[in-house]
Each structure stands twice: as structure tokens, then as C-alpha cells.
């Protein structure tokens, strides 16, 4: 058989396979079975790659409401926001989850979300309700803070953000580039909100030999002492010490790291209904569900964030090992979106030049 025929045949097979795939939405492991309930509606929840939830949580929702939830993930928060805006003429899903307060204004500036005020909001403290138009509903929160490795410090740990420029902490801290990393951006915002003159603060921090990496992974695992680096302080999360206990090897009873509470910038994650959904009613039920104790209780151990609902209960590990500040730093989302470019460009001039 001439080689061209071989190719033709294999092309046909490939096209055939594609055609077969095209008519079949199931994953390679073929998990989708026939729907028992013909009436049931399937909703698509679009979110970022850090989204995680225990098995069975959305099954519980299906049993309550007959609504199936398919989760689509795509990149980091920035990528999720860009994709949501780009595809707004024909959205990929019905509900978006994971837009945070550093990016929310970019979404709110466009009319791509439907307003919905869920009754569950009565259980959510007002400080989390940043969108007065009710297009973005708060679901969880967490703090980006300076962490320190307790045993690696020569003296007492820092207690104030301004302590970081003291000579005893020279060469101690590693931060992330705000132009490539979202914790890096959050820490820049923390310094803008929490120091009298942030430009001067960074000039001093640079003189104090701060290290900068492009990603959280590089900072935590290459420069910070936890991953074999040499620096005892890193920009990470308020919940990182809890993870250091749960995933310790060998096991430990107390976290090896502590949190500089004065440096914490609050991140709040929101969900919203995408305009153009065919199932607005069901989408609203999903928003209700995201704020229900069933979902809220799952947030800490799966995503290492904190539930916004006062009805939710924190797992024992979080109660024991996590420290949250009463007064986190924050900035108006509109101001963040407005000044992001100017701030990051100034930061580059001060720190990288």
C-alpha cells in the first residue's frame, strides 16, 4: 500500500476519532453517564486553577436542587479575569468564581455580570461586601502576609511592617514581582496602604537587600529557608503556617513559621452570574449554595482560604494554628485598578533599576 494511502487512512481515522469526540462531551475517563433525570439542568462554574473542593460537595447540591455543576478551570486569577472579559459575548459558563478585590473593578467596569442579592448575605459581615451593585458576591477571603521561619531568626520576629527595613533584618526578606505574581501585587498594595511613604519604604527595603522573584513558588521554595534557600522571611499567606503543619514531613505539632500580622493585605474572592446565561434561576441557586455551610465549611482545608459566612465552622487545624489580624490592610478596588499601572511602574524604577 503506497504511503499516501496509509496516511489517508490514518487521517480518516483521526478525523473519525475527532468527530466521535465532538459528539461526546465526556472526559477521557468517560465519567459522564446518562442523566437519570431528564429535567435536570447543568450549570458551568468557571474558575481559576487554585480552585479545589472535596468530592461529593456538588453532588449534595445536585440532590437538593437537581442542578449539576461542571467546573471549568483556566489559569490564574488574572487569566480568569482576562478570559471572562474576552469571552463575554458568548460566555464559557454560567457562574464565575475567583475574581478577587485586586481585579474586581476590571470586571465591574464592563456589564458582563448579572446583579443578584442572595439572602445568604445576612450571614456575611459587611466588610466583605465590596460591590454595592451586587454583581459580585463575596465567598472566601485570605490574607497575604510576610511569613518568617521562627528558628532561623537571630532575635525576636518583626512586629510592624516598618520593622522590615531595620538593619537586623538585612538580607532576610524575599518578595515577589508585582508585575508577574498576585501575592507580590498584594504585598505592594499592603505597603501602599500600610506605610506613610511607600516609595521611601521600598527604597529602604532595597537598601536592606530585599530579594525579588517572579513567582510565589520561586520565592517560597528557592529563596525562603523552607525550600533550602537562605532567607528567613517570605511574602506568603496567613494560612501558610497551617499548611506547614498539615503537610509537614516529618510530622510536627506546631508550625515552624509565623506571620507578621501588621503586613497582611486582605484578599477577598467573589462569585458572579455571567450575563447571557440560559439558566439565571439555577445560577442564583448556585450562588446561594456557595454561601451555604455545606460549601463554606469545605473552603479552608481545600483552598487554604477562610469562609466569609459566619455560619461556617473552621476546622481544628485552622483554629489551632492560624493567626488572622483584626485589622488587615486594604485599598479601594477602584483605586487599585486605576493606579495599578503607575504603581507597578514606579515600583520597577525603585526596586529593579
Amino acid at each position: 500500500m503506497p504511503i499516501r494511502s496509509v496516511l489517508l487512512v490514518s487521517l480518516c481515522i483521526a478525523v473519525g476519532a475527532l468527530a466521535a469526540c465532538a459528539s461526546d462531551t465526556s472526559a477521557p475517563d468517560g465519567a459522564n453517564e446518562e442523566l437519570e433525570n431528564v429535567q435536570s439542568v447543568a450549570l458551568t462554574l468557571v474558575t481559576h486553577d487554585s480552585f479545589a473542593i472535596s468530592e461529593g460537595v456538588f453532588e449534595a447540591f445536585f440532590e437538593q436542587t437537581g442542578i449539576r455543576v461542571e467546573v471549568l478551570t483556566s489559569g490564574d486569577v488574572g487569566s480568569l479575569v482576562a478570559q471572562t472579559i474576552l469571552s463575554s459575548d458568548n460566555p464559557v459558563g454560567d457562574v464565575v468564581f475567583g475574581v478577587d478585590n485586586t481585579f474586581m473593578q476590571r470586571v465591574l467596569d464592563r456589564s458582563i455580570l448579572e446583579p443578584y442579592k442572595t439572602t445568604e448575605l445576612v450571614n456575611v459581615p459587611e466588610r466583605f461586601q465590596l460591590d454595592s451593585t451586587n454583581r459580585l458576591t463575596p465567598i472566601d477571603y485570605g490574607d497575604v502576609c510576610v511569613n518568617y521561619w521562627i528558628d532561623a531568626l537571630n532575635g525576636p520576629p518583626p512586629v510592624a511592617l516598618m520593622d522590615l527595613v531595620l538593619p537586623e533584618f538585612s538580607g532576610s526578606l524575599v518578595v515577589q514581582n508585582p508585575e508577574t505574581s498576585s501575592p507580590g501585587m498584594a504585598f505592594l498594595l499592603a505597603t501602599i496602604a500600610g506605610t506613610p511613604d511607600w516609595e521611601q519604604f521600598w527604597t529602604q527595603l532595597k537598601a536592606n537587600s530585599v530579594a525579588v522573584t517572579n513567582s510565589w513558588e520561586s520565592a517560597y521554595y528557592s529563596e525562603f529557608i523552607a525550600g533550602g534557600g537562605s532567607r528567613p522571611m517570605v511574602v506568603s499567606y496567613a494560612s501558610s503556617p497551617v499548611a506547614e503543619v498539615i503537610y509537614a514531613d516529618p510530622p510536627v505539632d506546631v508550625p515552624p513559621t509565623g506571620v507578621l500580622l501588621d503586613s497582611c493585605f486582605r484578599q477577598i474572592e467573589f462569585a458572579g452570574i455571567l450575563s447571557g446565561t440560559d439558566h439565571p434561576k439555577e445560577a442564583r441557586s448556585l450562588i446561594d449554595f456557595l454561601l451555604s455551610p455545606t460549601f463554606q465549611n469545605e473552603i479552608p482545608m481545600n483552598m487554604f482560604m477562610y469562609p466569609v459566612s459566619q455560619k461556617a465552622e473552621l476546622p481544628e487545624e485552622f483554629v489551632k494554628h492560624s493567626q488572622l489580624t483584626e485589622n488587615p490592610l486594604s485599598l479601594d478596588p477602584a483605586e487599585i485598578e486605576d493606579k495599578r499601572k503607575a504603581w507597578t511602574e514606579r515600583w520597577v524604577e525603585i526596586v529593579l533599576d
Binding site: L72, S74, L86, R106, T180, A226
Partner: protein, 527 residues
């Protein structure tokens, strides 16, 4: 071409067009911004330097590959291919440790966060492209010419530079083109190992599109990237055509390397490619203050950070890689045939079209698919198979560049001679074309498989069902939460990925070697 048009050109043009409708002012801004100019310059020079260094480091290994067949050869080829699938973040960490070790032990300057680190890492990732493409091409040359030159009194250096080198050029050019494009669009390596001020066009596209939400600037940069890649591919394919040589395939044994030279090259390859691997394996085995296999066992358990177990992520990756390989081989071989046999214009068209996907930013392709393939009959953007298709797009250029030089060198008289001796056309295909390009297909298939297994960029810009995540994404997510347990698992999964690709390369090598051998034995014109 329909495939490329539908899954590549249509999406890319859609995203560029929709982002550039605001006007062409973006170009003026880009060329006025010193930062963007810096990125353009850095992209170009680091890609050139990376290509040069890769050629210098990997060509000696190509000489070894050309002379090593059978099981040893397969193992050697597997080793050089492994870097391809290693997650950048893991390799970046290993290199950083290496640079710091050399700094503290030998007093060498610390290369971490320098352009040199980026260039060395690019050579590490692209080593296989040069070593394997050139090596296999080399072994297929007609070595009688060298014999004759030697009989006429040339020394071995003269023989190499005057006789062998000119005939190796097509394969070297092909490998150099791939290496250049790979380094040109590099993202992870630059972010992890590069200095903070070192931006490439690719990282700038990401920064504008994702962090700033400025699609116009990012599309402008993407367009500049496309044009640069087009020019490069054009120059390269012109050179390749000019240098292409044919062979009559009169087999004579290749001159062996001196034992010491061969051992030296093999040693260098083992150290250069093996050291980061060694760091990874050591990490994956350390557990509870000692060593053990617990990290590997843990891959079968579900951790909250992953929507499924690490092992089923690996299963997804293997499924995707198999599909991507079949698709890339099919499309790539058709393109290669068209490039070699069609008239000039058509040939050029295919040549450019098939190379472009490697030179276009993952953000552009991912977002393009998102907004272009959104309506019936092409409402495919959230289908799971769009991921292996995106992988296949990246792999097609590798297939084309592996197969074209092999096809070109089949001398027409070889087929004529066979026909004169009474061979039917199908027998000519089977006994001349197939064995001759079988090795090329084996390399191409191995590359396609490895590319799909290791692909990260384009995958992450496509909306995917949570449980269909790939192994490199699982590695990345395991490293996203603090804790040594999770890091140990990430290392273990990286090692398993490396083993999977090595096993695939060894199998495909053994198969193609046997095929080629069998038909050579039966062939009426082989010796």
C-alpha cells in the same frame, strides 16, 4: 492544512483582529517604550545565543548517536529527550541549586538570575532537538564519500569539515530553527531563571494581557512576534533547500569515533543532562528525614489541592499525548510530503504554515481558541480534546522538521533504479521510502509525545474540566501550597513523567530500529 487553519490560523487571526480594531496606535507606543524595545532585543539575542550554545553542546552527542544503534542508542536517545517533559519550575530549582553550589564550592560567579542561566537552561531543554535530529540524519549519510576522501589522503579533520559537515547542514538548520523558535517564545525559563528585568516578547504579552488587561498592546506584540517568526522561517527554509543533499543509500559503515572521544562526549552528556535529574530524584525519595518510596505511593491518594489523584492526572497526560502524537504525525507528514513534492509556491506555503505554531505565544493561541471556536459548528473550546489538539499544534513543526530533511535526501535515481529492477511502486515505497523516513518518524513521534506530556502554557490558557488536568499542571498545583509532603509528591510526579517519556522513546526507537533493519536485510539494493 484544514487542521492548521481551523485550530491555529482562524483562532489566532480572530484574536489579533478583535484586539487591533482599536487602531494601529499600539505600534507607535511599543516602539517608543524602551521596555518593549528591550524585550524585543533580549528575545532576539538570547534565542540566537541559546541556539548557538545548544549546537555547540549537542553536536558532539549527535556524533555519538549517529554511531550508536540498538539498545544502547535507544537509552542514550531516551536520556537526551527526558528534559523536554520536566516542569520548568522543577528544573529551574535544580539549576539554581547547581549554580549556587558551583559558586560556593568552586568560587564561580553565581549565574542565577542572569541571561547566561536562561541560555544554559534553553540548551538543556533543546539538547534532544539537535542531538537526535542531526544524529539520525548523520547515520543515514552515504559514508563512502568519507572513505574515498581518506583514501585520497585527507586527514580526519579535513574529511569532517569538507565532506561531512556540508552534508549535515540541512539537519543542523532544521534543528537550529526549532531551537531558535523554542527559545524565542520561552516563558517559564525566563521567569524562573532570568533576571527580573529580563523580559521576552512572550512574557510581555502575558504581562499586558493578564496583569494589565491591555489586549491591544498584547496583540500588537503578538503580531510583531508572528512577523519575526515568519521572516526567520523563510530564511531558514531557503537555506535548508539550498543545502539539501540526496543520497544513493549505498550503505557503508560510518567511521567510528576514538573510544576516548566517545567516552568523553557520553560523560559530558550524562553530567549536563543528568545533574538536574539527579537533584529531582534525590528530592523525590527523601521522606521523613530519610529516604523511601512514600512520595511515590502518595501519588495514588487524592490530596485536596488536586481535583483527582496525581496518577489519574498522569493518565490524562498519557491519553492526551497519544492523541496529540497521532494527530501531529498525520498532519506533519502530510505537510512534509507537500513541502518536498509540491511546486515551489505550495511548498513554501506549507513550510511556513507548519512552523508558525511553535513561534506564536501560548496566550495568543489559547485566547484565540477561546473566542474563535465558540459557535456551532465549531463550538469546541471547552471540549476536553481541544487540549491534545493544542499540544499537537506545537508538535507539528517538530514532525515536519524531522521528516523533511529525510524525505529530501531520497535520490530520485534510487527509486528509478528500483523500478528498473522490477519493483512495483508500492514496493518502492515500502522498501525505500518507509525505511528511510522510519527513523525520522520515530524521532518525530517521540518528540510529539514528549511535547504533549510536558506542555504547560497553552493548556493553562484553555478552560478545562477540573478533573482533566494534566500531570505538569498537577506538579504546579502541588507546589502551590507550602509543606514538604506536597513538594515531595511534586518531585515524584516529575520523575514519573520523565520515566514515562524515556520508556516511550526507548520503545519507539527499538521498533523503528527493527523495522529499518528488517527491510534493509530484505532490500535488493541495500548492502
Amino acid at each position: 492544512m484544514v487542521f492548521l487553519g481551523l485550530f491555529f490560523f482562524y483562532p489566532v487571526l480572530t484574536i489579533l483582529a478583535s484586539s487591533l480594531t482599536q487602531g494601529w496606535g499600539g505600534f507607535a507606543d511599543i516602539f517608543q517604550s524602551s521596555r518593549a524595545r528591550g524585550a524585543l532585543w533580549f528575545t532576539a539575542w538570547q534565542a540566537t545565543a541559546s541556539t548557538a550554545l545548544t549546537l555547540i553542546l549537542a553536536l558532539p552527542s549527535a556524533a555519538v548517536i549517529a554511531r550508536t544503534d540498538g539498545r544502547t542508542g535507544a537509552w542514550f536517545k531516551a536520556l537526551v529527550t527526558v528534559p523536554f517533559v520536566l516542569p520548568t519550575i522543577v528544573v529551574g530549582g535544580a539549576f539554581k541549586e547547581l549554580f549556587e553550589g558551583m559558586n560556593s564550592t568552586f568560587g564561580l560567579p553565581n549565574l542565577n538570575h542572569t541571561a547566561i542561566a536562561v541560555i544554559i537552561a534553553h540548551s538543556f531543554f533543546n539538547f534532544a532537538v539537535v542531538a537526535r535530529t542531526v544524529g539520525v540524519f548523520w547515520s543515514g549519510l552515504d559514508h563512502q564519500l568519507e572513505e574515498q576522501a581518506r583514501t585520497l589522503g585527507s586527514n580526519s579533520r579535513q574529511v569532517f569539515w569538507r565532506v561531512t559537515w556540508p552534508r549535515l547542514k540541512p539537519a543542523i538548520l532544521a534543528a537550529a530553527a526549532i531551537t531558535f523558535l523554542f527559545s524565542f517564545t520561552s516563558f517559564g525559563v525566563v521567569l524562573v531563571l532570568g533576571g527580573l528585568r529580563q523580559a521576552t516578547i512572550e512574557t510581555e504579552i502575558y504581562r499586558h494581557a493578564i496583569i494589565r488587561g491591555d489586549m491591544t498592546s498584547s496583540a500588537t506584540l503578538a503580531l510583531i512576534q508572528v512577523v519575526a517568526v515568519l521572516v526567520l522561517v523563510l530564511v531558514n527554509s531557503t537555506l535548508e533547500r539550498r543545502t539539501s543533499v540526496t543520497t544513493r543509500m549505498i550503505r557503508s559503515p560510518i567511521t567510528p569515533l576514538r573510544a576516548r572521544t566517545k567516552a568523553g562526549i557520553t560523560c559530558f552528556t550524562l553530567v549536563f543532562l543528568g545533574t538536574p535529574l539527579f537533584v529531582m530524584i534525590e528530592r523525590s525519595l527523601s521522606f521523613g528525614g530519610g529516604y523511601g518510596l512514600q512520595n511515590y505511593r502518595a501519588l495514588f491518594d487524592k490530596v485536596p489541592q488536586l481535583p483527582t489523584t496525581a496518577m489519574s492526572a498522569l493518565g490524562n497526560s498519557l491519553t492526551y499525548a497519544a492523541i496529540a502524537t497521532v494527530v501531529a504525525l498525520t498532519v506533519g507528514i502530510i505537510c512534509a510530503m507537500a513541502i518536498v513534492t509540491r511546486r515551489k509556491l505550495v511548498s513554501r506555503f506549507f513550510d511556513l504554515g507548519a512552523m508558525l505554531p511553535l513561534g506564536v505565544s501560548a496566550v495568543t493561541v489559547g485566547f484565540g481558541i477561546l473566542i474563535a471556536l465558540d459557535e456551532a459548528p465549531f463550538d469546541w473550546r471547552t471540549r476536553w480534546w481541544i487540549v491534545p489538539i493544542a499540544h499537537a499544534l506545537v508538535a507539528v513543526p517538530f514532525v515536519v522538521r524531522s521528516v523533511v530533511p529525510m524525505l529530501r535526501r531520497i535520490h530520485p535515481s534510487l527509486r528509478e533504479a528500483a523500478a528498473l529492477l522490477g519493483a512495483s511502486p508500492s514496493r518502492i515505497r515500502r522498501q525505500i521510502d518507509v525505511p528511510l523516513i522510519a527513523r525520522g518518524i520515530a524521532i518525530a513521534g517521540g518528540f510529539a509525545f514528549a511535547i504533549s506530556l510536558g506542555e504547560f502554557g497553552a493548556t493553562s490558557f484553555l478552560p478545562r474540566r477540573a478533573d482533566t488536568l494534566t500531570a505538569p499542571q498537577a506538579v504546579f498545583r502541588l507546589l502551590g501550597t507550602p509543606g514538604d509532603l506536597l513538594r515531595g509528591q511534586a518531585m515524584a510526579l516529575s520523575v514519573v513523567l520523565a520515566v514515562a517519556v524515556a520508556a516511550t522513546v526507548i520503545t519507539s526507537e527499538m521498533l523503528s530500529f527493527n523495522t529499518a533493519n528488517r527491510s534493509r536485510r530484505k532490500s535488493p539494493i541495500g548492502s
